[in-house]
């Protein structure tokens, strides 16, 4: 970490003009009026349309593929199979186990086998029907336990000859001793089901190769830079002959953070045919692409003292990875590494194993790898509170780790507003009057969590900055900011505009942000791990301050005053001590341009050295952690098992809300997503290995009517290293919504739901089981 990476909390001009105040998104009007261009809106002259042939078998060897009839169909311009793109890739460089099209075998129903480019989609679809593929069907794995126990056949080849994708086992402190000496031990099995992102925009990519062979790819991706690298490798084309652009995107949530088959296919087909090629996936294909939340089976043991103080945590987790690695190496680490706050664990052990199964591949969904363990652990904490008769909020307070501390696995905690989060949800929800007091079928539950704000693990090892910004100044007053960050709706381009406008004293209408274009913008690693506001925000401050120094210096000379008297504010430059002396920023830029020549600046950010000194110690090591607490209030219909979530209070420590509207939006979206996946969604395969319902009718996302009232409470702990103190807000506020829901159901009706999802049939069975047990063992003194 260098000096460029820390900029302090203060506003550049004493008081913030833009930061911390509600602002519009810079692309809001374009999106609301339909003028924003998404990848599928782009059409090029002579453009062909491509479609993908997919495997109808969950696990099979490809014996032969005959594409001759498809090639011969009038209107077909190109047909490719795995042999045309044989180079394996994977977003994590250590696990390149995907190919754009299956080379020798297929690993789930929906796996890509061939692609056709034709004059239109209908012709391409007819051509797919003419491709003859002979398969040798293999035993398929739908159950991760079977995949763990059985080695033949293997889904991927590895040295061990098994179906294990990754195993991580880490010990911190004397765990066994803690369990032996602690007076209270709670053990339990928990499970988290699969869910997917279901972004409103399906994946889409368009490729063009110009007369000089330069390839341009427009793609709905949240990782332009990694797509750029993967294309170069798979196409065997120098990176400087490739340009990747992310147009406006209709949501991603982690579902667009791998390189995908369609990106390679359109590129290759454009090279072959010499014409632009576009592929738009259907909703069904998006469900097959998946990369959603990993199902996990989790055994947790918790040792504590009588006062509720945690002494040890011991976890064993089986992770169902689906058919490819994707981010799985990181997922496996995250499943253990991210649990060690906001509570103080004196000792901790986790043993996580990710196995391959013949299902759509899992990957990172909002709260990657840590939502599942957080669910198990926070429910278990509630069980501890119940056992010790301690208020669950008080129990969490007693274990709170606090700011400027270190976790048991060596993560550095800087700012921490977790106690304030607990206090805010406790007060806002009227917790003390509601807990155990709401009456029949009603209850409240609490949970807390912690999440990373990016990590210092840059996916491929390098020491270059993780984020970069470039600023160009025009004599008209227009300032164009080139940002590598992928705006996936979270507002990262807007955030960049707010920062630069604040630093240079501009109004937002003077800013242009050009983002996520590898020819034009400096590298940013992508929109994942909640890294963008922190890292790109710091890079934007870095670049802006260099530029401001030039402009302020020139003006000070021009007015012959000290630099401290020069203020840049709201599009004007002025002398603090002489109200008569002021000019527009356009004039100020011109004065600076005379002195310094053409104006511009670059800025960067890189993380400090972080993490524990052990293998994997840097995975999950973040420059700052966000904290959340949720209280959920429910009403359970004991006759039907239906859960009505009445209200959710979420307090989230985002360090500093650069735009409180966007932070609240992220909190609301996270709560919505968490509650919906707990109650309605289930990404699963049926007994044939087929996706159980790859459509938005059968995969039930919550509608407006199904969404609870959400109160977002912003807590600002002012992180010393964040841009003006900011940390993440996009993923953290999802985590504890789900365990808080389970805990609220316990408060309401006395059933402990340890296995997701909480569909009415599951709830009804649990209620009936409880009733049967209660009837068998009437409590002493009851007159029943």
């Amino acid at each position: 970490m260098s000096a460029r990476d820390q900029h302090g909390l203060a506003a550049p001009h004493g008081e913030f003009q833009i930061i911390g105040k509600p602002q519009r998104k810079i692309d809001g009007a374009a999106k609301a009026t339909g003028s924003a261009l998404y990848t599928d809106d782009l059409t090029l002259p002579g453009m062909l349309h491509a479609k993908t042939l997919r495997s109808p078998h969950p696990h099979a060897r490809i014996v032969s593929i005959d594409t001759s009839a498809a090639q011969a169909l009038p209107g077909v311009h190109g047909v490719i199979t795995g042999k045309d793109l044989p180079t394996p890739y994977g977003v994590i460089p250590w696990t390149p186990d995907e190919t754009a099209l299956a080379v020798d075998k297929v690993r789930f129903i929906g796996d890509e086998v061939a692609a056709v480019a034709a004059v239109d989609e209908d012709t391409a679809l007819r051509a797919l029907e003419l491709i003859q593929v002979e398969y040798e069907v293999l035993h398929s794995y739908q159950d991760p336990k079977e995949a763990l126990e059985r080695d033949e056949p293997t889904i991927h080849q590895n040295k061990r000859g098994d179906n294990v994708s990754k195993r991580v086992k880490l010990d911190f402190g004397e765990v066994d001793q803690a369990f032996e000496t602690s007076p209270v031990v709670i053990k339990g099995d928990y499970s988290f089901h699969g869910s997917t992102h279901a972004a409103i925009e399906p994946h889409c990519a368009l490729a063009q190769v110009d007369g000089d062979g330069l390839l341009t790819l427009w793609s709905a991706t949240q990782i332009t830079h990694y797509v750029h690298r993967a294309l170069s490798s798979v196409l065997d084309l120098a990176p400087h002959r490739i340009r990747v652009i992310q147009p406006a995107i209709g949501g991603a949530f982690g579902g667009k953070s791998d390189p995908f088959s369609l990106e390679f296919c359109v590129a290759k087909l454009a090279q072959i045919t010499g014409r632009p090629v576009k592929m738009l996936w259907t909703r069904e294909e998006v469900f097959y692409a998946h990369r959603g939340r990993h199902p996990m089976e989790m055994q947790y043991s918790l040792a504590a003292n009588e006062d509720g103080k945690i002494q040890g945590v011991d976890a064993r987790i089986l992770i169902d990875g689906g058919s490819y690695s994707s981010f799985g190496l990181v997922t496996t680490y995250y499943s253990g590494q991210l649990l060690t706050g906001p509570y103080d664990f004196p000792t901790y052990r986790f043993d996580s194993t990710r196995v391959f199964t013949n299902k759509p591949p899992c990957g990172p969904k909002r709260g990657h790898g840590s939502v599942q363990p957080r669910f198990a652990f926070e429910v278990q904490l509630d069980e501890l509170a119940e056992k010790l008769s301690i208020d669950p909020i008080e129990l969490r307070r007693r274990n709170s780790l606090g700011p400027q501390t270190k976790t048991v696995n060596g993560q550095r905690i800087t700012s921490c507003g977790f106690d304030e989060c607990l206090l805010q949800v406790e007060e806002a929800s009227d917790w003390k009057n509601k807990r155990q007091s709401l009456g029949s079928g009603k209850g409240v539950g609490v949970a807390g969590s912690m999440y990373i704000t990016g990590t210092n693990y840059p996916i491929y090892p390098n020491e270059m900055p993780q984020a970069g910004i470039q600023i160009k100044v025009d004599r008209s007053g227009v300032v164009t900011v080139f940002s590598g960050a992928n705006d996936i709706g979270q507002g990262s381009s807007s955030m960049v505009a707010y920062v630069v406008a604040e630093e240079l004293g501009l109004t937002l209408d003077m800013l242009r942000v050009v983002a996520a274009d590898t020819d034009l913008c400096p590298v940013d690693l992508g929109a994942y791990s909640s890294r963008v506001t922190f890292m790109v925000g710091n890079a934007a401050i870095d670049a802006s301050r260099k530029l401001r120094k030039l402009v302020v210096g020139s003006l000070a000379k021009h007015w012959d005053v000290e630099e401290r008297r020069v203020r840049l504010v709201k599009g004007e430059a002025l002398d603090l001590e002489d109200p008569e002396r002021h000019m527009t920023m356009a004039e100020a830029f011109q004065i600076a341009e005379v002195e310094h020549d053409t104006l511009g600046a670059t800025g960067s950010y890189n993380t400090p050295t972080l993490g524990g000194d052990y293998r994997g110690g840097s995975i999950g090591a973040s420059p700052a952690y966000s904290f959340s607490a949720h209280v959920v209030e429910v009403e359970v219909d004991e006759e039907t098992g239906r859960i009505d979530v009445q209200e959710v209070w979420c307090a989230h420590d985002c360090g500093k809300a650069l735009n409180p509207i966007l932070v609240s939006g992220q909190i609301e979206g996270s709560v919505y997503m968490g509650i919906a996946e707990a109650l309605y969604e289930h990404h699963q395969t049926n007994r044939f290995g087929l996706h159980s319902g790859p459509s938005l009718l059968d995969y039930p996302l919550a509608t407006t009517l199904d969404t609870p009232e959400i109160k977002s409470l912003i807590v600002e702990s002012n992180d010393p290293e964040g841009p003006y103190g900011a940390k993440e807000a996009g993923e953290g506020p999802l985590h504890s919504a789900i365990p808080a829901l389970s805990n609220a159901i316990f408060d309401a009706v006395g059933i402990r739901l340890r296995h997701l999802p909480f569909t009415p049939d599951v709830v009804l069975r649990a209620l009936r089981e409880k009733r049967a047990n209660d009837n068998q063992a009437p409590s002493p003194g009851s007159d029943a």
Partner: protein, 340 residues
């Protein structure tokens, strides 16, 4: 986006022209009303008609009229939203207004029609899928295959009747007018259904539903509809129940019935409901007990199969709950019972 297959579209302006087109097509045509179900089904490759005959421009097919005897005559192209919002339907056939108000979501009710809902294709988790998906499965009994995946070894398709308005119209004693070129017949809706999920209607595929007639109800008529579904909007029923009570001048139950949908291939009435409820006075313990007995009759008789997504066990467990709540809602002049 999934592609539609190619077909010819005709938009006749008169009923006669529509009947001529259907007769000439000799079974190669399909009728499209609102299209909210047909179009996704076409995209899924469930049908491949050469010709679609749209009913959208036929004069006189939209509207709700009260006949001199108090009966309601509803045009088959009347949007579900209009049926739901009609004060006439709400007053005279409350169960129908309630059922129509719970079909799908607001946009689909504006586009979808009452006739289309009556004639809705049956639904099944093994059938309402894309061609790729069904091909991977090896197809099913209802379309292109020989095996049933709901009842293993089953020889009869048990795809679920999923039309919310069907049980409501059954409890209202509605009759349907079907027409073919130079042919016209009236059929009580209760006689429409057959137990075959492939085509669950006792009418030919080239017969056109041209009117829905709801006879005048007794002054003591009470009706309600209850629906179980996953979400509070959009979803097809996991279970739907319509209830009718006819109260005499003292307010006691004179007659009663319940019909259910989203069970098996056809909507089913529950037998014996009138017998247990007759003579009881709503609001009394005696009535509540009779309602409970009626709910138990429904529980015994209505057995949802594993055809639509979700737990069939749960759907069955909800039969008595929905029956009780819907009967009570009818008695109080309330409803719909939703969410359950």
């Amino acid at each position: 986006m999934l592609r539609l297959p190619s077909f010819q579209l005709e938009e006749p302006k008169s009923l006669y022209a529509a009947l001529v087109l259907l007769a000439e097509a000799k079974g190669e045509a399909m009728v499209i009303a609102g299209g909210t179900d047909l179009l996704p089904n076409l995209k899924h490759g469930l049908f491949a008609p050469k010709l679609l005959v749209s009913l959208a421009r036929i004069e006189g097919f939209v509207g709700i009229e009260e006949e001199p005897d108090g009966a309601l005559l509803v045009g088959p192209m009347t949007p579900l939203a209009r049926v739901a919002e009609s004060e006439l339907v709400q007053a005279k056939a409350p169960a129908l207004a309630q059922a129509a108000s719970l079909v799908a979501g607001p946009q689909l009710r504006t586009q979808g029609t009452l006739g289309g809902n009556v004639m809705l294709d049956t639904r099944c988790q093994w059938y309402n899928q894309t061609h790729f998906w069904r091909q991977s499965l090896g197809y099913c009994l209802k379309k292109d295959g020989t095996a049933c995946h709901v009842v293993q070894g089953g020889k009869k398709c048990v795809a679920a009747a999923s039309n919310d308005t069907a049980p409501a119209l059954m409890t209202l004693g509605a009759t349907l007018r079907f027409e073919r070129l130079n042919e016209k017949r009236e059929l009580p809706i209760k006689s429409l259904w057959s137990p075959d999920g492939i085509w669950n209607k006792r009418c030919d595929k080239d017969e056109l539903l041209t009117a829905i007639r709801i006879p005048a109800q007794d002054p003591g008529h009470r009706g309600a509809y209850g629906k179980l579904r996953t979400r509070e909007s959009i979803d097809f029923p996991l279970l739907g129940l319509a209830a009718r009570l006819t109260l005499d001048h003292e307010g006691r139950v004179q007659d009663a019935e319940i019909s259910g949908v989203a069970l098996a291939a056809r909507p089913s009435p529950v037998r014996g409901v009138a017998d247990v409820l007759r003579g009881t006075l709503p609001g009394t313990a005696e009535f509540d007990e009779a309602v409970e007995a009626a709910a138990q009759l429904a529980y015994k008789q209505l057995r949802p199969l594993d055809n639509v997504p979700g737990s069939a066990w749960y759907r069955r467990e909800m039969v008595p709950v929905l029956a009780r709540r819907t009967l009570q809602a009818a008695a109080k002049g309330e409803g719909p019972v939703h969410p359950l």
